[in-house]
Amino acid sequence: MRLLTHNMLSSNIKGVANGFPLKIEAGKVMQKQVEMNLDFLKNMFSKIEWKPFVEAAKTLGYSELSEDVDPSLLDSQEFLANFHHALLEIHVKEGALVCPETGRKFPFSKGIPNMLLHEDEV
């Protein structure tokens, strides 16, 4: 799972008011090269919640991103390359996602998080 997807996910356990962001307990992380597309990055920039994104990247061992950003950075090649790498090229293979409120773990298996809820959580 990439950080792009992680940034969109939130916990939907019954009674949880703010299930975003899910914490990552990373086990194995993999890198895969993907072609860069500027239009997509610009499109996603407005949608990404930046702080959780930077924090998630840090837990995966990537700390090239700064905490404060503004849209003017989108002209900087270096920033775009870092943003692209963190967003699309880092894959979490093993570990777990953790709900920020209840601490419920969603374990990964082969890079796929198991988001199925138990009957009493729906």
Partner: protein, 291 residues
């Protein structure tokens, strides 16, 4: 379809390893899935500006529909309840991310982030109660409610469904409307038993011009045949079933994917690190007629 899979077993049981295997080995299933997802993407009517979008594939299964999205340059992630199907997707090395999740429990997504959603032959499963805790109405409500929240304003969701009967179609559509969606059902080839396909085209946000339901294919009665391979083209006028043609003339009208597609696919495999033969002038060249 002789029997409906929904009536046999719950999805996570029905799509076991042997059923999932069909999605890599049966060229017929692959072909149908690809056509359905191409049509769904067309109905999604994304702005034609070449910007890749973030799309959601609900019930992505083995990732066949996601592959169509990747081929069109979009980023996607998908969810499915069947582990066996997701394993097949991993094997196929699909480009999108996969989640093991149940759409009837609601999609755990942030509000307003998805640019469009497609779903191929999945939503009708929600109408079944496979466990004692399942209540189809609540599950439909949770699904459409969370889908509506996660879509960006003005974004569309195209859900291809096989409703069992009129009541089921109305049930699904009713819950979609109650969640706030505008839109309706597009029926392609309504007069054919086999090629008939229903798509729920839903728009998020207030009703506007863009929320008008697009036109269906093959609505004029005579032009469509029962044959799957000849049913999709407006050009088709003859309704001779393929198998009745002389062998040499079969499937001549089938569109090939072309050199660009082959080059793109090779490039994709190269990026994944596979050994791929070099591109030469012979790559994807048409064979001589003597073959």
């Amino acid at each position: 379809m002789a029997s409906r899979p929904e009536l046999l077993a719950p999805p996570e049981i029905f799509y076991d390893q042997s059923e999932a295997r069909k999605y890599t080995s049966s060229s017929r299933i692959i072909d149908i899935q690809a056509k359905l997802s191409e049509r769904a993407l067309e109905l999604l009517a994304l702005p034609d500006d070449g910007v890749p979008r973030l799309l959601l594939d609900i019930g992505c299964g083995s990732g066949l529909s996601g592959e169509t999205l990747s081929e069109n340059g979009h980023h996607w992630f998908g969810l499915d309840i069947s582990e066996a199907m997701l394993d097949v997707a991993l094997e196929r090395e699909v480009e999108g991310d996969l989640l093991l999740a149940d759409m009837g429990q609601g999609l755990g997504l942030r509000p307003g982030v998805i640019d469009g959603a497609i779903s191929i032959s999945a939503v009708q499963w929600l109408c079944n109660a496979d466990k004692s805790s399942h209540e189809p109405r609540l599950r439909l409500k949770a699904f459409f409610g969370s889908l509506y929240r996660s879509l960006a304003r003005g974004a569309r969701a195209v859900l291809q469904v096989y409703p069992q009967n009129v009541a089921q179609r109305e049930l699904i559509l009713g819950f979609a409307m109650r969640a706030g969606f505008a839109g309706g059902v597009v029926v392609d080839f309504p007069h054919s038993t086999k090629s008939r396909k229903e798509y729920l085209v839903l728009t998020c946000g207030p009703p506007s011009l863009s929320a008008a339901v697009p036109k269906a294919k093959g609505e004029d009665a005579e032009s469509c045949s029962d044959d799957e391979s000849s049913g999709d083209d407006e050009k088709t006028t003859v309704s001779v079933s393929d198998r009745h043609r002389p062998r040499k003339k079969q499937k001549l009208d089938k569109k090939s994917k072309g050199r660009d597609w082959v080059l793109w696919k090779k490039e994709q495999m190269r990026r994944k690190g596979a050994t791929v033969p070099a591109d030469t002038k012979y790559t994807a060249r048409k064979r001589k007629s003597r073959f």
